[in-house]
């Protein structure tokens, strides 16, 4: 499947249909890029204690929401007008689902930005930021790859992301334990650490959404639903 590339959606008899699908795809990638930047900025504002950036990030969510609505509408119209089947149908359905995931990612970024604002106001020494940076890099990477896999229709790459998600979960567990130790060391750290914990949790959720997107990419490409299936089986589907 990896050898059939992007113009799989571009060779319909109806050129209008082609451009509609392409538009859906590019708009989705645009939204993905926006959300990706949002998460990145939120994490940056947290680490740099940049209240201004945090505020900007928080407001950016409005744009993402607008794009989400537009994409949903476009997908609905395609279904109504074209009654897509097979590959086209899977694309449209996946986009609808992935748009929801992206919107959630945006929400998580908003949450991080809010926490960053709160933390910067408190203005105390950073604790647990190493973990945040580490996990955020990982998660951002996953998000980026999942969008990339969507753009390339690369199910192998998508499968990789599914596996990554396990590692993120482990990292989150480890970071949580570390923060717990901080809190036990000093009572005054508790409120602060809880906020950082919230950030970590948000990042972990972003990872989950990236994983969902990857699963949808596999469905789009292979036509098999790999949600709630063990990775080994998913491997078989992608490999075969």
């Amino acid at each position: 499947m990896t050898d059939q590339k992007d113009d799989v959606y571009g060779d319909h008899i109806s050129h209008k249909f082609n451009s509609e699908l392409n538009e859906l795809k590019t708009e989705f990638l645009k939204m993905g890029g926006m959300v990706e930047a949002q998460v990145e900025q939120a994490v940056k504002s947290l680490i740099d204690s940049d209240a201004e950036l945090a505020e900007k990030t928080r407001l950016k969510d409005k744009e993402v929401d607008k794009l989400e609505k537009a994409l949903d509408e476009e997908a609905t119209l395609i279904i109504a007008r074209r009654q897509p089947t097979a590959r086209d149908l899977r694309l449209v359905i996946s986009v609808i689902k992935m748009v929801a995931d992206l919107e959630r990612v945006g929400d998580e970024a908003k949450k991080i930005a809010k926490l960053a604002l709160k933390l910067s106001e408190e203005g105390q020494a950073p604790r647990g930021y190493v973990e945040v940076r580490h996990i955020s890099e990982h998660v951002l990477h996953m998000l980026h790859d999942s969008l990339d896999a969507f753009a390339r229709l690369d199910s192998v790459q998508a499968l990789q992301i599914m596996k990554e998600d396990k590692r993120v979960d482990e990292e989150y567990q480890a970071a949580a334990r570390t923060l717990l130790t901080f809190m036990m060391e000093d009572n005054r750290n508790i409120s602060r650490c809880m906020s950082v914990m919230g950030v970590l949790r948000a990042l972990e959720r972003v990872g989950d959404h990236a994983c969902n997107i990857a699963e949808n990419v596999i469905f789009m490409v292979e036509g098999e639903d790999v949600r709630h299936t063990p990775v080994e089986e998913a491997e078989k589907i992608v490999g075969g």
Partner: protein
């Protein structure tokens, strides 16, 4: 929506550039291997067992080595572009091709283990078992009653008038037409609406209690409401009949059939569960056809 429309051109350009860096491999040429059908062409409880069927129009091979089972009480849809042989293949199943002199059928075609093309086989008996509904509603220019009663009468299915009345009523009921026409059974059938005429043709076909009903694009001349009624009827009939339907409407195939067979240039490319065919077909050609990529 406005923002989307405004960005169409620029975004499309962007996607082009975005896509170019990807490895430049052409899509694999979709190939058909003669006699090979992807998916599940065979069934356990086969009504029709068709093996290595070939149909020739003079020198021209209209059907190329097709093997297929049609299961009992299933609705199987034949789809494919014009001239792919789906109608020809359908007509083999009750030997409607017989009247065409240059047409010859090879291979093994069996209905419940009996050879269809056995020279000793009576084609009249076969057609009583395998009924047919055509593309254009073609009621006889007689009364509604006569249209339905004609089949049972020529086959001697009813000895008494009351028996015949029962058959007519039952058939019309099954075709969902009874309530609409019970007061005007003597009215001429050609005065009915297109959808009613087609349902009358279905009633006429099932009046001789066939085991199989073949439908050759039964809704192509009907409006959407009439089409919906006929589709509804097909769903009801599938409980007691095996139905083979040729259709140009993929949505129709998706709606009414259990299995879908995709024909291409005389080949049977893919047979699969309808749900599978319309969400993730196995063969590249099937996918191209059902997604509208042909040409």
């Amino acid at each position: 929506m406005n923002t989307m429309n405004a960005t169409v051109t620029s975004e499309a350009d962007m996607s082009e550039t975005e896509n170019t860096p990807l490895p430049e491999t052409k899509p694999a040429e979709a190939t058909i291997e003669e006699g090979v059908t992807v998916g599940q062409p065979f069934a356990d409880d086969a009504k029709f067992q068709l093996r290595n069927v070939e149909v020739l129009y003079g020198e021209n091979r209209a059907i190329k080595n097709i093997s297929l089972d049609i299961a009992r009480n299933e609705v199987i849809a034949f789809i494919g572009p014009s001239g792919c042989g789906k109608s020809t293949f359908l007509r083999c199943l009750n030997r409607m091709n017989d009247s065409i002199d240059i047409c010859s059928v090879k291979g093994s075609l069996q209905l419940e283990g009996q050879d269809l093309y056995d020279p000793k086989r009576d084609v009249v008996e076969l057609r009583a078992r395998v009924g047919m509904v055509f593309q254009k509603p073609n009621p006889f220019p007689k009364s509604i009653y006569e249209n339905v009663a004609y089949g049972p009468r020529i086959h001697g299915l009813a000895n008494r008038k009351s028996d015949l009345d029962d058959i007519v009523e039952n058939s019309l009921r099954k075709a969902g037409l009874w309530e609409e026409v019970k007061d005007r059974l003597d009215a001429t059938a050609t005065g009915m609406s297109g959808g009613q005429q087609q349902r009358l043709c279905i009633a006429r076909a099932i009046a001789v209690s066939p085991e199989v009903v073949l439908m050759d694009e039964p809704c192509s001349a009907l409006d959407p409401i009439a089409t919906a009624k006929v589709e509804e009827l097909i769903a009801e009939l599938s409980e007691s009949y095996t139905i083979v339907i040729v259709t140009h409407s993929m949505q129709q195939a998706a709606r009414v059939s259990h299995r879908t067979a995709y024909f291409h240039l005389g080949h049977l490319v893919e047979v699969n569960d309808t749900n599978k065919v319309f969400t993730s077909p196995e063969h590249e050609l099937t996918e191209s056809y059902i997604t509208g990529r042909f040409g």
